[in-house]
């Protein structure tokens, strides 16, 4: 086969391969999300994080504003210490509340941030004071049963 047609076919092949990779990166993956460059880290301690996993989203008002980084156990306070990596574009007041929430009934767990009213903003390395743990289904059921039983007692 002639050299120029060979070059053409190979060029097309390589372009198609790189195109497929680009499609995978942009359309299938979340590379267009945020880069790790302009973020800041804050810490939050929870009594119980439930099934929270690293790389879970951090949402405020339902919009993804960051991702969960490392999750470690704080042996001094016996609490879970979670690193939240937040996009620099989003600034939150110092008295922001973090809670572990579940998307849908059986969906993945994420961290929801609710902004407070402080005039100063959170900076790199700050720790959130107000946190709310994950809801553990067993506790919920036992509470429900307990209150039902108490209700039955008063009716009699």
């Amino acid at each position: 086969m002639e050299r120029s047609t060979l070059d053409l076919w190979v060029g097309l092949f390589v372009c198609a391969g790189i195109g497929a990779l680009l499609i995978l990166a942009l359309k299938v993956g979340n590379m267009s999300g945020f880069s790790t460059a302009d973020t800041y880290q804050i810490y939050a301690r929870f009594d119980n994080i439930g099934g929270l996993k690293p790389r879970a989203p951090v949402k405020s008002a339902g919009v993804v504003v960051g991702r969960v980084g490392d999750i470690t156990f704080d042996n001094g306070k016996f609490m879970a210490k979670v690193v939240l990596t937040i996009d620099k574009h989003f600034q939150f007041p110092k008295d922001t509340t973090a809670s572990v929430l579940t998307s849908g009934l059986l969906g993945e767990q994420y961290i929801g941030l609710v902004a407070g009213g402080d005039s100063a903003n959170l900076a790199q390395g700050d720790t959130l004071k107000l946190t709310q743990s994950a809801v553990v289904l067993e506790n919920l059921i036992s509470q429900f049963l307990y209150s039902k039983a108490a209700e039955g007692d008063t009716k009699k």
Partner: protein
């Protein structure tokens, strides 16, 4: 009786030394190939020619099987997910299984049987018809002229083919899931995008296919170069290429997967 057992022990010994010898030969072969690849990069036309034969001509089989694998994944995934009422996760299922596993592995298996066997047969026949010896006679190194360009062509084309396989498979899953069955298009793509990570999933898939590319072309070239110069020898070498490289792909896949995805 004692003679019998001595004979079988000798058999084990021969098996081991043969294996070690072959491993050493294979290592020397790849080292020589890498050492001589400078010349083939300077004459890039040789690599382009081989890219055409290994890459472009494998396109049809890769694209068509990618499409069908994706379509089957869409159908079967829908059937299973439907029982849990989470059809909207179909995109995640199709994309993750293709990008992480099926794309690199199935593309590499197809590549081994389509391009690897052709490489072995070609080089084996070159050896049988004494073309390689003729080259040596003319002071042309057959490793630099014949082996190295084929090696690089295989290593370059394998990740590209695997990426095309995955992309085509996801398109097939989209066709069946969204167009045919009617899963919601928005949740199909958005759940896929939130679940598939570029570095953890896509890049690891590319690394896998690169490793498979090296393994398949290495085995194919070695079998061809080492084939007994007879018709039987070449046919046996071609069979061994397909069998050995398929086993190597599956074994390597397990090792790579256990390093890459440990369930976080």
């Amino acid at each position: 009786m004692a003679e019998r057992s001595a004979l079988s022990v000798r058999g084990i010994g021969r098996f081991t030394t043969d294996g070690v010898l072959r491993l050493g030969y294979a290592a020397r072969f790849i080292a020589l190939t890498l050492l001589h690849s400078g010349t083939s990069f300077r004459r890039f036309g040789l690599i382009i020619r081989e890219l055409y034969f290994t890459g472009v001509l494998s396109l049809i089989i890769i694209l068509v099987s990618g499409l069908f694998v994706g379509m089957v994944l869409g159908l079967q995934g829908y059937e299973t997910l439907q029982t849990y009422g989470s059809e909207s996760a179909l995109g995640v299922l199709v994309a993750l299984s293709l990008v992480r596993e099926l794309g690199p592995v199935v593309a590499a298996l197809l590549f081994a049987s389509r391009a690897g066997s052709a490489m072995t047969a070609e080089i084996g026949l070159m050896k049988a018809t004494e073309q390689l010896s003729a080259m040596e006679m003319m002071a042309v190194d057959p490793i630099a002229r014949v082996v190295a360009p084929r090696f690089w062509a295989g290593v370059i084309s394998m990740p590209l083919l695997a990426a095309m396989f995955s992309a085509m498979g996801i398109f097939g899953g989209y066709l069946v899931g969204v167009v045919l069955i009617g899963v919601d298009e928005g949740s199909f793509w958005s759940q896929m995008q939130s679940a598939v990570d570029f570095r953890d999933d896509i890049l690891n898939g590319v690394i896998k296919s690169f490793v498979f590319g090296v393994a398949v072309t290495w085995i194919a070239l070695l079998e061809g170069y080492d084939a007994p110069p007879t018709a039987e020898g070449v046919s046996g070498a071609t069979t061994r290429t397909v069998v050995t490289s398929s086993l190597a792909i599956l074994g390597l896949d397990f090792i790579l997967t256990s390093f890459m995805f440990r369930g976080v």
